[in-house]
Every structure is written in C-alpha cells, then in structure tokens.
C-alpha cells in the first residue's frame, strides 16, 4: 500500500515549479524517487486522472495535478467518472463518488 508515497509525489509536484520542470522533461525519473507500485507509477506518468482518483488520491491533491496537466474542468470531472466506470469504486480515502455515473450535478 503506497498511496502515501503516491500522494506525496503529487503533493510535492503541485507546489514545486522546479520539480514540475523536471517532471515535464522526464516524468519516469521523478517517479523512481518514490516507492510506488507499477500501477501507481503508470498512472502518474500517463496523467491518468481516472485511475489516480480510484486509487484514492485525495481530490484536493488530484485537482491541482489536473490543473498542472492543463486538464479543463469538465474533462477533469469526466475522467474521474470514466475511472470509476473502468476500474470500479474509489478504493481508499474520503473522496468517494456519491453521484451516478451519468449524473452531472454542476451541469458539466
């Protein structure tokens, strides 16, 4: 269970512009500094917001990562819905989905 390490990577990335530049140049190299499972490492490198959400990354960390990856708001919400559709319910933490897969509470 390395959700802590996964979250830490994203936390540090979100607040550190130097690390962001490194990540943009070589995401894989950055991920090797954290003790991640292959699934976690792949999700970070691919910017797979849906899977990261299902893995239990806190939404407040994930949202900033999505902004860094230039993912627009509607797309961010949809990717999380798609993640649950593909991978099943959120596995950890307090950011579980409570609305339906096709429900768009905010209209987007």
């Amino acid at each position: 269970m390395s959700l802590y390490q996964l979250s830490k990577l994203l936390f540090e990335l979100n607040r550190d512009t130097a690390l962001q530049a490194e990540f943009t140049a070589d995401a894989k190299a950055v991920t090797t500094r954290y003790d991640l499972s292959d699934e976690e490492r792949g999700a970070v490198i691919d910017g797979d917001v849906g899977l990261l959400y299902v893995l239990g990354v806190n939404g407040q960390i994930l949202m900033h990562f999505a902004a860094f990856r230039q993912i627009a708001w509607a797309d961010y919400l949809q990717r999380m819905r798609d993640g649950v559709r593909i991978h099943g319910p959120v596995r950890a933490g307090i950011y579980a989905m409570t609305t339906g897969l096709d429900e768009k509470v905010a209209g987007v």
């Binding site: 806190n58 939404g59 407040q60 949202m63 819905r81 307090i94 989905m97 509470v105």
Partner: protein, 272 residues
C-alpha cells in the same frame, strides 16, 4: 489592541477560475457581496489580517500534519496553482514575522499551534484575497486548520483556536482583522462537484449567525461527511471565527452556485 473585524466567506478555485461559466444572476450578487465585505474590512483599518483557511495540501501534508498552524514570515506567495487555471496572477503578499510570533506565543498558551516560517498560498487564501485585497495592500497572517486529512481536530478545539486568536488579537498593539474561509456542504474535486445541501447550509449559517456555541459544536464528522461531504469538514474555520468574534453575525449573501462547487456566502460578525 483588539479585533476590529470578523468576516467569513467561501473559497473554491471555480469562483475565479470558472467565473465565466456561472449564471450572471447568481454570480454578480455574490461578487458584489464580496466587494462589500472588502470595503467594510478596509474601513476597519486593520494593521494585519489573520486569514483562517483550510488549505488543500499546499504546505501541509501527512508527513507532518498540524491541526492548527500560523505563518511566521515577512512575506508569502501564491497561488501554487496554475495562475491561468485559477485566473489569479501570482503575487507576493506582505507578512509580519514579529507580529506573527507575538500572536503565536499567546495562542500557544491554550492551543498547540505549529508555526511556519514559509507558506505558499493556494486558492483557499488567494480567492478571498483576490476579492478582499485586489491591490495587494494588506498585511496578512495566514492560519490554517487541517480539514483535509483525518484524523482532524474535534470541533471544540476549533472553537478553542478561535478563542485563542481573539485573546492574541486583544493582546498585541496592532489592529487585527480576522477572515475565515471554508466551505459549508460541498463535495469538491470529485465527480460530485456541484452537489450542495442547501438546507444543511442554511441551518449551519443560522447557528453561526446566532453565535450558538453548543449548536455549532453539535456536528459529528460522520454526520457532516454523510450530509455535507468531505468539504463540510471546513466548517472548522467558520466555527473558529464565531469563537473569535463572540457577537452575533449577519449573513449578507448565501446562494448555491454549482459550477463554483460550493454554496457561496459572505457574512460578518460583531466583535463582542
């Protein structure tokens, strides 16, 4: 000298970042209420403004997560988010390390606050500041209550934190304002984003305006999570503000605005 102003307000990155997506008939009165609070705040001529926020992993992480923290630097910067996404330009905000230290030492008499000699602001502070201090003139002392990563401080400690901040504000020679910012019910940064429990929010604001300590502390985290979402944990900041002000409050604006992912409110309390 004393506390000269207390106000509370919503934050949320959508308020600025998705302003153009909101229905103008909801958005414009909200922004107008925010601007009215800006005028009232500046009219109180504060030497420094304590902003009690519920930050979102901008500074504090599970490697060392304090229940309560106060900044102790001569300057801060933000936002940590992409400025284009948040639509708030990067700024450096003036702090006052010596004043912070005096406040922290007094707070520590009853509440065990972490101090931070550096601090990066996220939307939790930057969105309110963009409305309340568009010209970047205020001296800010950031404070934080952990509302994101459980185990969270119980609500009665948030009340104690507000009491301690009031005692500190009364003890220093400066004129101190206090702004607390947090959500009421909301499910932010999830696919549920936009869900708002209006009834729960109105009841909370009623208790807040009444300054009803017993009623404000009569929420459990399990109940809040079920009815008001993980975003509802941020009521801690608003509870601290009520404890600091002691007087009755006035809700100037409250309207759910789903595209902003939160019920939007602006309220002030009398200093008693």
């Amino acid at each position: 000298m004393t506390l000269v102003f207390t106000g509370i307000c919503s934050h949320g990155p959508g308020i600025t970042g998705r302003a153009d997506l909101a229905p103008p008939e909801l958005r414009d009165p909200f922004f107008a209420a925010y601007r009215a609070m800006r005028d009232a705040l500046h009219a109180a001529r504060p030497d420094a403004v304590i902003i009690v926020a519920a930050e979102h992993f901008a500074n504090f992480f599970m490697n060392n997560m304090p229940s309560f923290a106060i900044g102790m630097a001569d300057g801060y910067e933000g936002p940590i988010e992409d400025p284009d996404w948040l639509r708030i330009p990067h700024r450096r905000v003036r702090g006052d390390a010596a004043l912070s230290q005096a406040i922290i030492a007094e707070v520590q008499q009853s509440v065990d606050v972490a101090y931070a000699e550096e601090w990066k602001f996220d939307h939790g502070i930057m969105v309110p500041l963009s409305f309340l201090d568009p010209d970047n003139k205020l001296t800010v002392i950031p404070a934080n209550i952990n509302c994101q990563g459980p185990p969270l401080a119980p609500l009665h400690r948030a009340w104690a934190f507000g009491e301690a901040l009031r005692r500190a504000a009364d003890a220093v020679p400066q004129r101190i304002a206090l702004i607390a910012t947090g959500g009421i019910s909301h499910w932010p940064a999830t696919p549920d984003s936009g869900r708002i429990n209006e009834e729960w929010d109105r009841e909370f604001l009623r208790r807040w305006a009444a300054g009803d300590k017993a009623a404000l502390l009569d929420y459990t985290d399990a109940g809040t999570y079920a009815e008001a979402g993980q975003g509802g944990f941020e009521i801690r900041t608003l509870i601290a503000a009520a404890a600091a002000a002691r007087g009755p409050g006035t809700v100037h604006f409250f309207t759910p605005i789903p595209i902003f992912s939160t019920g939007c409110f602006v309220a002030t309390a009398e200093i008693a």
